[in-house]
């Protein structure tokens, strides 16, 4: 469990360093697979957890990376060239987020069972948020969004053994649809602007 938490944090940390879109999607795939592993280990023997773990593998480590990789293949020359905060600074920021969250969780929730998992999941949420804010490539923003979602899923898992199954199914479905919508928009961005760098989206003001 502890090893997995550390590996998850490491994956988020790596995401702050990449500027190639393919690598980012590959890291995301591994990260989602690890979330599924946590799910399977936490809930050995429980039907609910088994379903959730399988769905995580199929949707988050299967369909979503597949869809993203298909778009990325068409964006051959796209890469993160000019992030708002560079890789070095964002790695430091990610480290700061991790330390801060460990300190806060230590202070406020000392009695939670899977203490490491809670801290790791919150760190994933906020590192994902940082990626969305500081990256300009559409694909990297999507990766940040899924990272946030992975973090939240892990939080539910580690605090309460997951939300009720029907709600989780709904969330899985929403995530899948969200990614399809975002992929469609990314295609269109490439078609209309010849670029998926979202910093060109600044016409609407006032």
């Amino acid at each position: 469990m502890q090893t997995l938490a550390i590996l998850l944090l490491f994956s988020a940390f790596l995401l702050t360093r990449v500027n190639r879109l393919t690598s980012a999607v590959h890291i995301l795939l591994v990260q989602s697979a690890m979330v599924a592993a946590v799910c399977a280990i936490e809930g050995t023997g429980s039907m609910h957890m088994l379903v959730a773990a399988i769905l995580t593998v199929v949707i988050k480590a299967g369909l979503i990376p597949y869809a993203l990789l298909r778009v990325v293949r068409q964006l051959r020359h796209e890469r993160e060239v000019n992030p708002i905060i560079g890789p070095n600074a964002s790695s430091v920021a990610a480290a700061a987020i991790i330390v801060m969250i460990y300190a806060i969780v230590d202070r406020t929730l000392p009695s939670v069972v899977s203490w490491d998992a809670v801290a790791a999941s919150l760190a994933l949420v906020f590192i994902g948020l940082m990626l969305i804010i500081t990256r300009r490539q559409a694909i990297l923003q999507i990766v940040g969004l899924i990272t946030m979602e992975n973090g939240l899923y892990l939080l539910g898992l580690s605090t309460t053994h997951g939300l009720p199954l029907i709600i989780e199914l709904g969330i899985f479905f929403d995530v899948l649809v969200a990614v399809s919508v975002l992929v469609i928009l990314t295609y269109r961005l490439k078609k209309s602007f010849q670029s998926t760098d979202t910093s060109i989206l600044k016409k609407l003001k006032g």
């Binding site: 939080l155 609407l204 006032g206």
Partner: protein
Amino acid sequence: MRDLICIALALPLAAGIITMFFKQKSAIKTVNIFFSLCTSSVLLWLISRIAIEGPFKSGWFYVDALSAILLLVVAILSLTATLFSASYMERELAEEKIKFSALKRYYALLQLFIFTMIGVLVVENLGLMWVGVEATTLASTLLVAFYFNRSALEAAWKYVMVCNVGILFALLGTILLYYTQVAAGSPEEDALSWTALQVISGQLDPMLVKLAFSFILIGYGTKAGIAPMHTWLPDAHSQAPSPISGLLSGALLSCALYAIIRNLVVLQAAVDSAFIHSALLVFGLLSVAIAVPFILIQHDLKRLLAYSSVEHMGIVTVGLGIGTHLALYGAILHILNHAVVKSLLFNLVGFISQQYGSKQIMRIRGLFSVMPTIGTMFMLAILAIVGTPPFSIFLSKFTIVMAAFEAGSPLLGLGLLLLLAGVFAGMLFYTTRMVFGVAPKRLVRMKIGISAMTAGILSIIWIVATGVYLPSGLEQLLDQAATIAMGGR
């Protein structure tokens, strides 16, 4: 009632699927109007049953007076939106702004959007409600991006990104709330059910509940267009096709507010309500204040209306923040009134911008002489939205301001009135310039379809009638809804 709820959910879904199989545009139009008429009738029937029989719970479904008011909003708006869409889209097709395949996509997504909004309003679970609110974002994103031109794509990207991040924070808050519920020893089958949460609210850990409240308010507040999380709103509202802007502003923002109210009912019983109320007041006043300068200096007609939506969401939030029965009554009535008036305005602006070929306020002159009926309706609706009597919005604004004075915060009431005066000045200044004056030459006058005219006239009648006289059934529902929002039954 369970059957009614299921039918109300099934009808828009069926309409969306059937639309995909038609090959004539007139058939698509007729089918969609027919199905929307059916959906609205079923919803109205459901609402009247709620009014007579009281709250109803079965499995995951739950409806009461509060959901009834919001269902009324969706019932009215989905019907007017389809009626207006018929004329609006006909014109877009005739001018070759869109292709036939786009028309199918439009109606299918519109029905899906209506389905998701009804879904939010009939579930009895904070988790499922979250799923529903997220689904509304996803269904409407492709409608915002409908024209797929550069500005529409920009608006849609900002919309989906900002709202998704916001809604994930709401999920974080919901998970925290669930954690406190489990910690309080609630069984798993009651998970996130608000009726169950209300019963044990005293045993929830207040510190964590406060934390959950902050995330939930930021999350759903983003969706409701409350400042400072409103940045997506003017872009999305101005770029979407006009009937969709009307639905976004009238129905979607209302559904997000509904989600906030449902959470509040649980949360304000668990912690001291002063904390929650002051947070709501700050966000509400900020929304009204931020909208004022953008309304005073504005060049785009649809953005003008969009900022007015931010202002109105602020007014409702202030009403929720005051927290007395009177204020909540005013706030819920205001949700209903704003929805009808604002969607009518957006729909009318759809025709105005088609007629003048522009949304720029500068380009629009002499509305009264170019399109007398639409111009008159537009003027009346603007007078209604800024809160002049005898229109319905005057009543609800007045109620909220009065509640502020009655609750012993005259400064709040005065501040709100001052800001509203600013909005009043800005809106009327631009409207008089558009409505009067000499029309530009060489305008080809366009004919407005009969369906749009019917919808427009019916909306105007509703606005005036409910401003003068609230039917006793509706008043009772509003009263019960306010009691529910206070934490009662």
